[in-house]
Amino acid sequence: MSQPAAIEEALAALRALSVDAARAAAAVIPAIARHGEAVTASWLQAARKLSAHDRDSARAFIEGSAAAESASEEVLPWTEQAATFTRWPGCARAVEAFMRELPAAYAALGHAGERRWAELGLRWCERHLDSGRAYFAVPVRELSGRQGVAGIEQILDCAEELYESRHLMLVSYLQGALRVRNLLGAQAVTPWAMRGSDIMQAGRARGEAYFRLESEESLRLLLDSLPGFRPVERSRLLSLLVEVWFGETIELKESAWTPEKGRPFIECDGQSLMLPPVLTDQDETVLAILHSAGSMIHGSYDPDDVRRMFELSGLPVPNLGDPISMDPLFARFGDDAQRFKLLFDLVEDLRVDAAVGRNVPNHLKRMLRAGEALGVPPDPAGSYYRYALDSLRLALGQPNELSAEEQALLASVLSPQAGIAVAFEVALKLFSIAHLPEIDSREAAVLAYLPGRSPNASRAFQPRERSTDAQSGESEGEQGEGDQDQQEAGDQEQSESAEGQSEREESSETDEQQATGTGTTTGVGSSRRRAEEQAGKGGSSDKGIPYPEWDYREQRLKRNWAWVQEKKLAESNLGEARRLEQEYAIALKKLKQALQSQKPTRLAPRRRQFEGEDIDLEAAISYVTEREAGMSPEATVYRRRELKQREVSVILLADLSTSIMQLLPEGRGRLVDRVRAGILLFAESLEMVGDSYAIAGFCSKYRDNVAYYRIKDFDEPWSIEVKAQVGGLSGRLATRMGTAIRHATACFNGVSSRRRLLLLVSDGRPEDYDDGGDRRYLHEDTRMAVKEAVARGVHPYCITVDTLANEYLPQIFGRGHYLVLDHINSLPRRLPEIYLKLRR
């Protein structure tokens, strides 16, 4: 085939530079040539220019040309664009990316759009070649966010702003920014990237991780700006609802969901519920929590049913002691596994929701309404969604599109006796008759669930027996004790091992202290403490002060059984105390205002009043004499009794066992932070009120080693040293509560107040290393200690943050003598409040 002279000439020029390039170009020429001789010559010139500049970029240009031509049906515009790359050295990878995306750019954006796309990219190449390359490397559809050129301009506007203000290069954040935009919209990109540039300045690696959305802080920021309802923040509401409707407490945790994982669901491992950081709205969240809690309570994880399902499938029954995965049940359907799983979930969800509907009025109606409101997703998920809606209508007795056979099958899971195994059987039968389309991707499958519902057994779970009386509808009274014991046993093991560990730590620390004499004591007042410690050792016996202990098995007090050593705290941390004062400054101010208004302002008896309890004799006599003398005196003859300060003394006794060092579930510190803050606020309010108070803490390790830390005595001022000690509070060892109560009661000796209150702040049940696992022993002993205290005119009152405390505190302290705070964060604020209520 002969070529026109101009083309031959250009090709020869190219060949002179690179034989390979010329050969490749010759192969492409037929496609280009139909645009005319001049165009082809220009194209070859561009190729030559590129080749002269950088061989690799010329190759990429030539190889990509055929596709670009067929997508655009033109040549010159993109040829010119490609030729622009010759302005920058080392542009091969950029050209490669540009040529690769070119056809897609034409297809997605049209001719004008493509020009804008290229223009924006080339501008970035001019600025920073790497950023330009990164720009061209992103698939156009992704870059535009399916919004055409506007989408691209949007993200580049952000980039422009960041470049202007922070000199931030596109390459460092483009990938992350696109994901952020997809999740949260374009307005979220700039703040996210701004924060990132700050972090980048602090440390490159950290900043890069942030921009890759891999670092914790990036994820946190993202989750914080996600729109919707935040179940974790409202977990108190959710657990209240679970308790109200089901009469049970279920642990709520935070799940590790991230926006990439698609639609968020509440997950369950058979023991607790895992809340995603965000759900659509409160309605969906409430439905979801009721549904998920309902599935736990109504036997979705029942070991007998699980066994039966595996038997029905002819599979070996897994060991019911280990976490179980349901996957084998679905795996045998091969390619149809997803279809069967969805159908099974649908039937099981219907069973659970029908059961929940027996606890919660109008639950099914509400779910149907929410499902209808959300709207049916596109097929194939839509078919399942409609099927689920129809099954709800069936349960509600409303008209639906299910066949008679399907209706009969589904009706069998609506009975209160039906368990998950019944749902499984029904799903097996329905599988052959229900007309549901193939579904393969997980992305599509998650859309098939109604709001509030979620994939069942999405993670391996621990079997959980069905709460027996949940079946009968109302769920009050004793239930699921078997499980609870089991669960508690597990908890105990864990906490024991944790305590064991800290015990070792503690003992090594004491060894060290003994070796060095003063140990880790630092800061204010250390010399004073040392002197006191030594004095303490010299004064009473090393063993301390003995107290009896009640043994319920023998029904007698064991004399001199538990030994208390009074100590001063070794740690102090004034900085922490100051920080907490800052943090709670507003709460404290409010508290003080409230106290101010309560505080009696007149202390002296008021004489010569118009009214009062008693006659003011002096005034009365003068009144009578004056009247006799013909005057008209005012009848101010009463005396009002002095508003007396209530004589209250209180000891705030803090449980300083290891468990207070636990991290709070929602992050932001440890339990001990709240305890410290609570004590600080408490002391400040008491200073204001003027009641006499003492602060102490206790912990224990075996019966002969109960430490009682006197943090502040009744007559000691609320000094900086004391504050610092409160700031340095920490947890260690176990909780021998009875002995501590006995000792605190003894500390009231010599206090003249008639009203004596012992306020215990605790986070768990009485336990010690030597109780031999017999919880009842220390419970009974504590109960006895409380009784003894009351007999001696001291009123113990327990404030706890242990949500399980309702099980044991009523027996120990008696009704009305304890309070379970269901939210740890409220402790600082509530502590003074509770005290003031008590003394009212």
Binding site: E243, I615, V648, V820
Partner: protein, 281 residues
């Protein structure tokens, strides 16, 4: 409303008023044998202590018993500044003379009334001591300031109420006081009885609405240990029913009667609202 005594509205009347034979009975729905216990105690002149949460019907019960026994009912709401002279009486000046004025307790002792000391724990302990001699075999009231003693009228009956909530740790009655009384425990009525009460108190409420209200109340009481000082009372349910009859939407009525007065806690009120909207969807 019937109070056992037909009273003219807006007119002063004496605190000691005997129910007339033509008065209609106050509505009271017995929950157990409290009527029998109370009558037995009254027959044997024993003082009575009513225990139970706020709004479960203690006061109404007494109005009913006063009507049944045809005795006047004198109610004293105790507060922390209540002194013994507020109960017993005091000297007042009139012209050139001091005049003794009997307090409500003294008047009841003389007239043979039922004296009801509501929320006795709120009163100062020194004021509760005056009742000691009244509550044992002596049945005497000593007027120290006057230097006299009064033997109680045969029909005099002392009743106290006492709500064992957590605010009473420091203010518990002394055991020596407590053990002088016959105790009757009150609690919220069973659902059937509570339904009946609502329908009787608020004529026009349908059975369905009453049933829903009772179910709502029952669930709301489940939140007791979570920071509610007092739980949803029968009285609150009656209020809600009244508001509904007055034309409010059920959810709105319940919120006004059962959520807003109870708590300022956002989460708790959200939980209560959830309970309400679930029942009244």
């Amino acid at each position: 409303m019937n109070n056992g005594v037909n009273r003219q509205r807006g007119v002063e009347h004496d605190i000691v008023q005997r129910p007339g034979s033509t008065d209609a009975a106050p509505y009271y729905e017995p929950q157990g044998n409290e009527v029998g216990v109370f009558e037995a105690a009254a027959r044997r002149k024993l003082p009575v202590m009513l225990k139970g949460p706020t709004g479960c019907g203690k006061t109404r019960f007494l109005e009913y018993m006063a009507w049944r026994l045809k005795r006047p009912l004198v109610t004293v709401s105790c507060h922390e500044d209540l002194t013994s002279s507020d109960l017993v009486g005091r000297f007042l000046l009139e012209g050139n003379e001091t005049v003794w004025q009997d307090g409500p307790l003294t008047r009841s002792v003389k007239a043979g009334a039922i004296c009801y000391l509501d929320e006795i724990v709120e009163a100062r302990t020194d004021s509760t001591v005056v009742i000691h001699s009244l509550t044992d075999h002596r049945r005497q009231l000593t007027l120290e300031k006057k230097g006299v003693e009064i033997d109680a009228h045969d029909e005099f009956l002392l009743v106290i109420s006492y709500n064992p909530g957590y605010q009473t740790v420091l203010k518990d009655l002394k055991p020596s006081t407590k053990q002088r009384f016959v105790g009757i425990n009150f609690d919220f009525p069973t659902p059937e009885i509570e339904r009946k009460i609502i329908m009787n108190e608020v004529p026009g409420v349908s059975l369905e609405l009453a049933t829903k209200l009772v179910a709502t109340g029952g669930k709301a009481r489940g939140l007791k240990d979570h920071g509610l000082d007092e739980v949803t009372s029968t009285r609150a349910l009656v209020y809600a029913a009244n508001l509904m009859i007055a034309g409010l939407q059920p959810v709105e009525a319940c919120r006004a009667a059962m959520v807003n007065p109870m708590t300022d806690d956002i989460e708790l009120s959200a939980a209560l609202s959830e309970i309400i909207s679930a029942h009244f969807e």
